[in-house]
């Protein structure tokens, strides 16, 4: 019973974070901030859903597969977020005036 409540909370928080990433991708002003919203919020959301599935289906085979999913997701999401941000920075898309920090230009590398 208590396990069922915990799994329900994890599933709802995870799916809510995916919806929140959708809100961020609609509301945020430029591609850099949108990539940030997706790679943080949706990554944590999928992480919570994987954790819920691990708790809900507690057998050796499922836990092994789901831990593999967890590791692959944890390793790949920051990399793909970085690649997206670099690509959108290098392609010179318009940055919003709200996005003020520009570290590659401060370090003298104009292409990032």
């Amino acid at each position: 019973m208590i396990g069922s409540i915990i799994v329900s909370i994890l599933v709802l928080f995870g799916a809510g974070l995916v919806a929140l990433a959708g809100l961020g991708i609609l509301r945020l002003p430029d591609p850099l901030t949108r990539a940030s919203a997706v790679s943080k919020a949706a990554a944590l959301g999928l992480l919570l859903i994987i954790a819920a599935a691990i708790i809900a289906d507690w057998s050796l085979r499922s836990v092994l597969v789901l831990v593999l999913v967890l590791i692959a997701h944890l390793v790949t999401v920051p990399l793909s977020g970085l690649a997206l941000a670099r690509a959108s920075y290098r392609s010179g898309t318009a940055r919003s005036p709200v996005t003020t920090v520009d570290e590659p230009a401060e370090q003298g590398r104009s292409t990032g």
Partner: protein
């Protein structure tokens, strides 16, 4: 599945949340001004797809679908990297044209 049973309505509500997020990504892909916006929404769509696979696996008590999630995570990573390379090369080309 011999573990903890999740209420079906909870999984349904979670699936509705995931669909809301992916629909927002589709809207951004339709109106997004630059190509980077569309690739960001593709990334959101893939994360939504993996979430939906896991939720359907919970709903239907089918642990086989977890394997699908593993494959989908790896393919989504490769797709995102490839699309990001595509944007970078395109941007360089337009910058050379403008100078």
């Amino acid at each position: 599945m011999n573990g903890i049973s999740v209420p079906d309505t909870v999984v349904d509500i979670a699936l509705v949340f995931v669909v809301i997020g992916v629909l927002a990504g589709i809207v951004r892909a339709a109106i997004g001004p630059s190509r980077a916006d569309r690739i960001v929404s593709a990334e959101l769509g893939f994360i939504g797809a993996v979430s939906a696979i896991l939720l359907v696996a919970l709903r239907l008590d089918e642990p086989v679908l977890f394997d699908f999630a593993l494959i989908a995570v790896l393919i989504g990573f490769l797709t995102t990297i490839g699309l990001a390379r595509l944007v970078t090369r395109d941007g360089r080309k337009t910058r050379e044209d403008s100078t």
